[in-house]
């Protein structure tokens, strides 16, 4: 029969969010464990060998592995027990877990749980690119893993679909290792990654960025031989007659990340369609008491530091919850208004100051961020510049929230 252990806080996932949550929980005095499915901590950071991490948390420009090493040190210093190469098979709303480890199946009874499982990548099958099914079609993260960690080169003539930072960074990575990146195609009329990445990853190497284009077909019998690029209209439907075939041996898909909430579903956690992650309150607690969520599993972050900062809070709250359970608070819902992709948290305690996180639906300059309670204006602020690729924060004080029954955040463009 499986062995059984009891802990205060279980953190599922040992990446930038999971490690931070575990450290914070442990600092609060909770007996904390991390369950990690890889053979080392670090999560996605281990393959993100580029820099840009730690600017917020450590005021330094670190590579992914360097950033991970800082958190690993903290985890070790706190003496948090880590189950490596282990997978959570089941999680229920009583915070009971079944974990597969190579030492045996382990049953864990936890007072509270922190979900920090991160994301998976959107696949070809999900976006429905037709054509044949040859070797040579990769999602960007998998290609990154092979090239940066496993010493395997995926191809030599590459088309990248998706101009988010992951796609741009991989375009550069492949070029540096001697491959030819034919182009980066993006269905939006604007680039989805940071401008600095367009410079460092595309302009530096003369890689064309084809906005308003998508890959509509893959060709090739056993290995990719080419892809068909088409222009798209404002509804993102391919424009007939605009197709042209581009010769390549590899297609890299950077078409979005999906919070990995299969375990959350098993535990009965309510999910928000807009974020793809759990509905949470200002403590990062989900709809299931004692289950908290943070990092990419909650919503897709663009900066790892923010995932860790969020996780510190979630971990601390999980530890406090483990100690003396919930303190009921009157919470009000937070709604998504005009031009907002999503807002977090979805429920807040109006008797406290709140920090809302949101993403705009499209880029814009000189925008107004408006928070309303019904028709009553609670707060308005101007932002010089918003971009869907960058998560924004918005503070509302306890005083400003007084009397509000619900709040809605919207964006008015300049």
């Amino acid at each position: 029969m499986p062995s059984e252990i009891e802990v205060d806080v279980v953190v599922i996932g040992g990446g930038p969010a999971g490690m931070a949550a575990a450290v914070a929980a442990s600092k609060e005095g909770a007996h904390t464990v991390i369950i990690e499915r890889e053979r080392r901590l670090g999560g996605i950071l281990n393959q993100c060998i580029h820099a840009g991490f730690g600017l917020k948390l450590y005021s330094e420009d670190l590579t992914g592995p360097e950033y991970a090493a800082r958190l690993v040190e903290d985890v070790q210093a706190e003496g948090v027990k880590t189950f490596l190469n282990s997978m959570v098979l089941d999680l229920n709303e009583r915070r009971e877990l079944i974990v597969a480890t190579d030492g045996g199946i382990v049953k864990i009874k936890a007072s509270s749980v922190v979900l920090a499982m991160g994301c998976r990548e959107r696949t070809r099958g999900m976006v429905g690119i037709v054509g044949t099914r040859p070797a040579g079609v990769y999602t960007a993260g998998v290609a990154q893993n092979f090239i940066n960690v496993r010493n395997l080169m995926v191809g030599k003539k590459i088309v990248v679909l998706g101009s988010g930072d992951i796609g741009l960074i991989m375009a550069r990575r492949l070029t540096l290792e001697g491959a030819k990146v034919v182009c980066v195609a993006e269905k939006m009329p604007y680039c989805c990654g940071l401008r600095r990445n367009v410079v460092q990853c595309l302009d530096d190497f003369g890689i064309p960025l084809l906005l308003g284009h998508t890959v509509t077909e893959i060709r090739g019998g056993r290995r990719v031989e080419g892809v068909v690029l088409s222009r798209v209209d404002e509804r993102f439907n391919p424009v007939a007659g605009s197709e042209r075939e581009v010769e390549c041996d590899t297609l890299l898909l950077s078409v979005g990340l999906i919070p990995e909430n299969e375990l959350s579903r098993k535990a009965g956690v309510a999910l928000d369609e807009l974020t793809g992650g759990p509905v949470v309150n200002e403590l990062f607690e989900t709809s299931v008491s004692g289950v908290f969520a943070c990092g990419n599993v909650l919503h897709v972050h663009d900066v790892a530091d923010r995932a860790s900062l969020e996780a510190y809070e979630a971990g601390r709250n999980a530890a406090r919850w483990a100690k003396d359970q919930a303190q009921d608070a009157d919470r009000i819902p937070v709604y998504c208004g005009e031009s907002v992709q999503y807002v977090l948290p979805q429920r807040i305690d109006a008797s406290k100051d709140s920090t809302l996180m949101f993403r705009a639906i499209r880029p814009g300059k000189k925008t107004s961020i408006i928070v309303l309670d019904g028709k009553r204006l609670i707060k308005e602020k101007c932002l010089d510049y918003v971009n869907p690729a960058e998560m924004e924060t918005f503070h509302v004080s306890r005083k400003e929230l007084e009397g509000a029954k619900s709040i809605e955040l919207s964006i008015e463009y300049g």
Binding site: T101, T123, G141, M153
Partner: protein
Amino acid sequence: MLFDVLIVGGGVVGCAIAREFSRYALKVCLLENEADVSCGTSGANSGVVHSGLKEPSGTLKALYCVEGNALFPALCEELNVLFRRCGTLVVAVSEGEVEGLEGEFAQAEKNGVVGVRRLSRQEVSAMEPNVSAMEGVFAPTGGIVSPYELTIALAENAFENGVKMGLNAEVTGITRKNGLFKVSSSRGSYSARIVVNSAGVSARKVARMVGIERKTYECRGEYCILDKRVSGVISRMVYPVPPKRVGGFGVHLTPTIHGNLLIGPSDEYVEDGSNLATTRGKLRELLDGAKRLVPSLDVKSAIHEYAGMRAKIVAEGSKKRGDFKIEDIDGFINLLGIESPGLTAAPRIAQHVRELVEGQIELKAKESFNPKRKGITRFDALSLKEKSAFVKENPNYGEIVCRCENVTRQEVIDALNNPLGVKTLKGVKYRVRSLMGRCQGGYCLPKIVDIMREEGIEPKDITLKGEGSGLFIGDTKCLLK
């Protein structure tokens, strides 16, 4: 090398025939031109074990379908292959289809379909609340199986009973001399007293090698698989009344044995039988057809689309639905047009082929024949107690490599050490399901590659489906050096 029987084509029918002949003291060989069995029509079909209600009465299709269906429970038990008799529901969605439904029912009764009955709207609703129907016909013997799992199991059992399996062997020529066939292939030449042509889409080409001219027509079928999460909307096969235009069953829904909802196939005659591309138009048709049967279906939750090819005996627009063509031309057993219900009929077709050969060579039952084949233990199907014991005994069961389908390291190792010696990614996929989940290898692909390397496969030999489909061009620095 001289064989009594040489089978060309490792699909479900070829492998069923191989197994059938392995019951006897014969020298049998099967040649398959791909890197694995089940790579043609058998690898891309619904896996439905038909009840027989859809076959034109009086045909071999109808007869062998009903008889084959009856053999499935015992066959799958012997081969350790999952099989479920979930039942087939045919529905008339609109008033205009009711007449066609009545025709289906009459046909079913004539075909001897066991337990077939008519259902009222309420009865359909009670059975399948998410299906939109005015009336229905239900055939309880309809079942589902994994078509490639079954084909692999047949092949492995045949192999274990002495059949020589030649993979990566493309047959290039067949001649006759002194009552013997000489078969040339990319892997060598062989002599045989009997040749069975079960080459599916290529059967016509193979027949031509011995001067037999027959016409078959290539027809492509596209499929769409939905995420398990939305797949629980039906628990039985759901078919519409076939459209008036002959040539297909209409878009139907299959709950696969693994728990996904499969939509398809479509029906499209094509010029080039090797063109297995999916198309926007047909996929749109699939989703529209699916929504017509189950309006609440979340058609945005597709995880994968693919296409297969079958050889039909009748041309596009023909009024008749062609039948199986099984002929014996002086020891050349020619199988043409084995499309649906080919999978269901496979065990019966195998018996038929054996009967054809009975007069020509001596069939002496082999005492050592073992009908049982043990497949790879599926960890996910074990109870918690069993799981615990397995892991304690073997730590490789404690490492989950495919998190979507909960497949362990040991299962992947087993898949790579399969009896037929197949070492492709598709081979792993067919045997243990990893790479088939919603993330389509996003998590497990690097881990499976690791295991392949640990099993001694060089990076340049890591392929999706055999030669020419390599995943890598070298190590990370190979383009710079």
